[in-house]
Symmetry: C2
Subunit: 382 residues, 2 copies
Amino acid sequence: MNPMPKPPTMKDVAAAAGVALKTVSRHVNGATNIDPALASRIATAITELGYRHNLAAASIRPGRSAKVIGLVISDLANPYWSVLARSVERTLSENGYLLMTVSSEEDADRHRLLVDRLIAQRVDGLIVSPPRRDTTGWAADAAPLLPVVAIDRPLAPLLPSPTDAHPAAAPTPTPPAAEASAPLLTSPGADADAPHPTQPGAAADAPLVDTILADNAGGAEAATRELLRHGARRILFLGDSLELYTMRERNAGFRRALGLDPASDDDRASVATAHTAAEAAEVVTALLGTGRIDAVFAANNRASTGAVDAFTRAGTRLPLIGFDDFEAATLVRPGISVVAQDVAQMGETAAHAVLARLAGETPPPTTTTLRTRLVLRGSELP
Amino acid sequence: MNPMPKPPTMKDVAAAAGVALKTVSRHVNGATNIDPALASRIATAITELGYRHNLAAASIRPGRSAKVIGLVISDLANPYWSVLARSVERTLSENGYLLMTVSSEEDADRHRLLVDRLIAQRVDGLIVSPPRRDTTGWAADAAPLLPVVAIDRPLAPLLPSPTDAHPAAAPTPTPPAAEASAPLLTSPGADADAPHPTQPGAAADAPLVDTILADNAGGAEAATRELLRHGARRILFLGDSLELYTMRERNAGFRRALGLDPASDDDRASVATAHTAAEAAEVVTALLGTGRIDAVFAANNRASTGAVDAFTRAGTRLPLIGFDDFEAATLVRPGISVVAQDVAQMGETAAHAVLARLAGETPPPTTTTLRTRLVLRGSELP
DNA sequence: GCCCCGTGAGACAACGTTGTCTAGCCGGTC
DNA sequence: GACCGGCTAGACAACGTTGTCTCACGGGGC
């Protein structure tokens, strides 16, 4: 009747079975060297009392862990993140781990709070999508304590000292431009001959933590080239704020395809920012018919959706390719062509990276760049 | 250099600050009655050593908890569940709780395993979507231990004894049929005058745990009536397996609108089962042009998507209403009309239900039925 | 000057579990 | 018949933290 009496402990089970506490512990932990008679007495006592093993208590012993991983993303309701979370969960689950998922909403302070909370909870590892405007130094604090993996975006370089305001676009001309389809695995320093990976002055590009990225620039470049190939000349880059790493990369790939200096403000590239599908639709609606654009590269899902919505409402359309695949892409005619990321593989790779570190592997942190795939469905045509 | 030396404890902090361990504990827990001099020495020691409070260890004291809730759903990658999970997470987060989310994949055994694991982890409460073919009795085991809330579906009645194979369609004629638009809150027994809610022999419909449902039957009935209003006479019910509670309810509402005996096999109601959008598209494609159907009620997202896909490919269409809103519904012309559930509110309600129990409230378990909304966008028209 | 009381700090045990170590038992061997 | 080795069971301490209790100190009242 009493709603929730305090749950029985091993001690209670031991008393009921008439054995020592430690013997119950052995039984619960699956030790084989137990007298069958005692084992069955213990089993009976456990079911009769309704005993439940307390993993939380067990996990405070050093060397034992709760087998829980933390995942910090920006919004679980966004299909991109939820598919990623599902993939992480599946891989971890197969390895006996549970997942705690939290949403940072791109807020650096909230992000910091959540990371601290997860660490206090003593998760075994963290998979994190670093927030934009990330100034809290959470990674430097967390990485020495437990395995940390950055996903979707790299960590912001720590303390971009205010002196090097514009490190000059010319000196580092155009990065060697990863092949259109990047290799599955890129090693850390890339320059294999550098003997000491950490270079004091220069911002060494060896990552602080394992990092899993998509080939944003390469995908965007391929999409843009495809639009160009079909005769587009004034392509609109429609995306979210360039504060987001993925947007900067996709924009860079876009400009590279156009043959523009990555840092210049050449007006051949028109760029529009929209945070929601509605905003994106507004932008496109305003430009349709003005002749100022003749194709659209939608740099994320919401931009794609907004553009299609604008097209549908206007009863006309322009060539379009979007970044990230989405369910509705096949429902309209022509089908929406997209740069598809393998989100599931990203999650799986991230989970494996954490698991490897937990298994004791300690190679220097690696950045993995996952290939993207250009899926053509017709919307790229004039 | 050493990758991960064992993290400092309160004892280390106390030693470094030259105070007693308990004083550090007081400081960490925000006690006010601490000598400012000692407090600052402790604060310094904490930052210097990089001490982190260990909530896992703290939570083994009786009366203290880790503030974690478990959520068991069928698939986090499904937008329906991810939006629900997000809503639960948001509400819990506002109340200082973290969320552990796991996917059961509708497998009863896996579901049982996950629930047991979460209980072993000593979560404070559980929000669970019961799996289909639920025979493991997990709820009866879990409910006495911690607050449990069922979401999206009620618990299966325990042990449907094999004797009452077909409890006869006639004896229980047509259930009083909840009003077309259910009230926001339905109390447990419904029959307010029953003094003793538990009735030995009969399966009392007082729920075992708090339950949050959508008005599946009502929504489906409204949608079907709308199709009928526009002249449809041979409507296809296109949904997933009727093993799923939600499907049974939606089918019941569908039949009610058609004026069919809920248990009869009247062939005026054509029913097709499809697990994926592709299967749904196949079914619709096969029926299009045969004249055997003149409208479609798609009982879930995937069915809607599949039907639209079939229409688009065939270059024709039939009147269509779907259950559950989805992003693509507004992208095609005509827009897809749907029965929309307020998924976010469902998550919030479930979270509040757990929080209320954790706050010590112990009213008898309640079933809450959330209203659905018929959103007409044009696809219902001939 | 003495006592009482309020305040803040520390000693100790406890939470539920597991690692280590010792004691005991049994069978086999010389 | 004595000894040894292999095996299981139990006593004990420890994990990192917090609740309880006690103690020391200092100030104020008589």
